[in-house]
Subunit: 482 residues, 2 copies
């Protein structure tokens, strides 16, 4: 048995050369295969398509085997069926490939003898080599900076990383988040974790100065103590961690076992880990994205007291209730603040000057009142942060145009950085063909301006409540000298 060498950031995310074992000789097919995807994404290193029957694949010289490549091969993608994996992995080992990504499924997760045996064969090969393996049964690595990827994902990187046992879920998180300014500098989908596990990737990213936020989707881990330490290491390095731990109910444990052959563990053990590490716990893929929006775009929050500006009336009552159920405080305003708010409203409905404050949001010409309301509410010593709610579909109902949204949005974007309190916007997806595009543009505009934007009160309040607990955990740790 050889001494395994820890994989480095460069080994995993920045290989200088990649062999694609099992590139198709049918160019039309390979265009949307690994070779085409990497070329299209702009991979910067050397690409070696491997196919015994081809001399060229998409304009690149093809090789019958990795052994036939003249130079060094840093990274190989095994795009072959499970039964061919052990033999081809051996070839990669012989060639001295540093990292092999096994794309194929059909191993231990099948629960069948053939798959079990194949995974054992892979394990015994790994034991005898310094080559490190990602997978099997996974999408592998995405890193916009190096051009390595596994799908038509955004070419833009960012301070977020994603370590995941779901490839389909990775696509969902990245797509869902990208419209609101969350971009991933590093992603790794690692499936059955026959060799490299979440702990390895955490240890690697702990030292990556580009990464500030790490999201995890985990079904199982191999070494709890090591995982705990890797998490603590990332936290010490100032990185915020968001985690979805799947498979903690009866049937979902089974589902996790048949997805990645994972041993899911107990709610008790994982609950303790969340409590002791300050890792932010979420329950859906979309919540991962929402939490990253909160982490990246909301400055540190000092407390749970919220001022709400926007739709008063029924939506304001509901928002207040959601805040309270999540442990946020919708604080009453002083007589002085209410008098100031009174001055900037023309109608005489009382709810306008209480918390939530109702201004004629978004209507043409109303942007000054909207801006004034922010200045007044932000000045209140009883307010820690401000939530505001916009919804262009409401304009259409009363003969207005969804574009009126932009009056409020421009006012807010011009203003929010000058306020002494953080602001987050709730802006639900549009429900008409016109409002849909306007809302999506508005989300991008908020992200570009550095303003946190959420799709509903529930998602915003859940993410912000988590965020406050996170900052409190950090503060306690600082006081205790951790």
């Amino acid at each position: 048995m050889v001494t395994r060498v820890a994989a480095t950031l460069k080994d995993i995310f920045y290989p200088d050369s990649i062999a694609i074992v099992g590139a198709s000789s049918d160019e039309r097919k390979e265009k949307s295969g690994w070779t085409g995807t990497l070329l299209n994404f702009g991979y910067k290193g050397k690409l070696y398509p491997i196919n015994p029957k081809a001399t060229k694949v998409l304009g690149l010289k093809a090789y019958p085997s990795v052994k036939d490549i003249e130079g060094q091969v840093d990274y190989a993608i095994l795009n072959v069926s499970a039964s061919l994996v052990p033999g081809l992995l051996e070839e990669c080992v012989d060639k001295g490939v540093k990292v092999v990504h096994i794309f194929a499924a059909g191993f231990r997760e099948t629960g069948k003898e053939k798959g079990m045996r194949l995974q054992e064969e892979v394990e015994s090969i790994i034991e005898r080599t310094t080559t490190r393996v990602i997978g099997p049964n996974c999408m592998g690595v995405h890193c916009p900076e190096s051009g390595l990827t596994f799908a038509n994902l955004p070419k833009r990187g960012g301070p977020a990383a994603l370590i995941t046992q779901t490839g389909a879920g990775a696509g969902r998180i990245i797509t869902y988040a990208s419209g609101r300014g969350i971009y991933f500098g590093k992603v790794v989908s690692y499936g059955n974790a026959v060799d490299l596990d979440s702990s390895d990737f955490l240890e690697i990213l702990a030292d990556d100065p580009q990464i500030q936020f790490i999201a995890l989707y985990i079904e199982g881990i191999k070494d709890g103590r090591r995982f705990f330490n890797a998490v603590k290491q990332c936290v010490r390095e100032g990185k915020a961690i968001v985690m979805l731990k799947a498979g903690l109910t009866e049937a979902s444990k089974e589902a996790a076992a048949s997805h990645t052959a994972a041993l899911a563990g107990s709610e008790q053990a994982w609950g303790a880990l969340f409590e002791q590490t300050g890792v932010i716990r979420v329950y859906t893929l979309e919540e991962i994205a929402e939490q990253l929006v909160a982490l990246q775009y909301i400055p540190p929050l000092q407390g749970r007291r919220v001022g709400i500006i926007g739709r008063g009336g029924g939506p304001g009552v509901i928002a207040t209730e959601i805040c309270e159920r999540a442990g946020l405080k919708v604080v009453p305003y002083s007589a002085e603040m209410r008098a100031q708010l009174e001055k900037i409203t023309t109608a005489d409905a009382g709810s306008m000057t209480r918390n939530p404050v109702e201004i004629g949001v978004g209507r043409a010409g109303a942007q000054q009142g909207y801006a004034d309301a922010f200045n007044i509410v932000a000045s209140g010593p009883q307010v820690d942060f401000i939530l505001t709610h916009l919804n262009p579909d409401a304009f259409v109902l009363y003969g207005g145009k969804p574009e009126w949204l932009n009056y409020s949005l421009d006012a807010l974007i011009g203003l929010f950085r000058t306020l002494p309190k953080p602001v987050a916007v709730i802006l639900p997806a549009g429900e008409t063909p016109e409002s849909r595009e306007i809302v999506h543009q508005a989300w991008a505009q908020c992200a570009e301006a550095g303003l946190a934007v959420f799709r509903s009160y529930e998602s915003a309040i859940r993410a912000i409540s988590n965020l406050i607990s996170y900052y409190q955990f950090k503060e306690v740790g600082r006081l205790l000298g951790n």
Copy 2:
């Protein structure tokens, strides 16, 4: 004091004539005002714009006062500021108007002396007359069949009714729901409820054969016993009720008071009402819409055992966990069923034949396997209903087209009515300009075909879990002879 006469369905929703007190003489303004909105919506009765300075408004003869109208006036909308309301209400009473809708805010909800006094004046007028009043501080009535409305809402009616103390919320619910086949035959936004209250509207709708589902947004009620009886009356008539009771936390109670001057009551009392009546409890406006989708489009469910078909992998594990946390059972399949499922899959990843079942959903040519999976899963005696998950954004990531969604959808729509078990679809909103429109079209297609479609696992599972409890409550009531 006169004996108050109960308002009828005709009085509220089908007036033969409407006076718009305070129609603008500026035609451009009135086009998006009450007169323009009613003309545009196609109100079928006589419209009388009231404006002392105009002779015509949008082509209609204008009158200086309701008193100057020659014939009977069934319904009047008071579109004037609060301080003018008492005098103009008196005129309506003198004219013998049956129902007056007071649109203006600025009454008891302001918490100010002027508003309190104005509301008292209105109350004392009402005491002395048979005229019934909706409002103040509300949007009034929407009924596509008669053409009475308060906004640019869908002209299509349906078996759902909405009784609400939030006008803004009504717009949100109707807009959010309409894309998925939920249309409202009757809506009433009644604000401060100075006269007609939720109980009146429930009593009226209890006898309306067009209405099968009643959604309520309530901040406060005037007579708890009467409300309880009105709810029971609707339930006896076979109508399902969905209710959002707002204002049950500390600050939201305050918010409700300043919104509609409501006395919100206690969680204990309202919790008991939900338990004893089988009213389905929800917490957000969007949940009202989701619950109506479940009620209208899912046939009665016999139990909590679900079969999941669609995205397996991580999304399947998460879906399983959400189901279990909501008390649904993701049941294991028999060896026989798994063998049948095995036959229709080509790849050898084990998760495909367990529950959740993973089929190559949506890809071109995969519709047969998808259809076969439904037939096999629906035949399982351990399955009460099926959830399926589609997401066209996933195709784009791997070089496919979002239109591929339609292959699966067509297969499903052609099939679901022939299955022995109910089916619901989870189809999240698209995240790209192409997929957004394709998904919205797909929602409409599902609704047209009578297939329940939801935007997320969470929303579907919450609504379906509520639905099962509702049918259980009904079944117990039937057994007890209630």
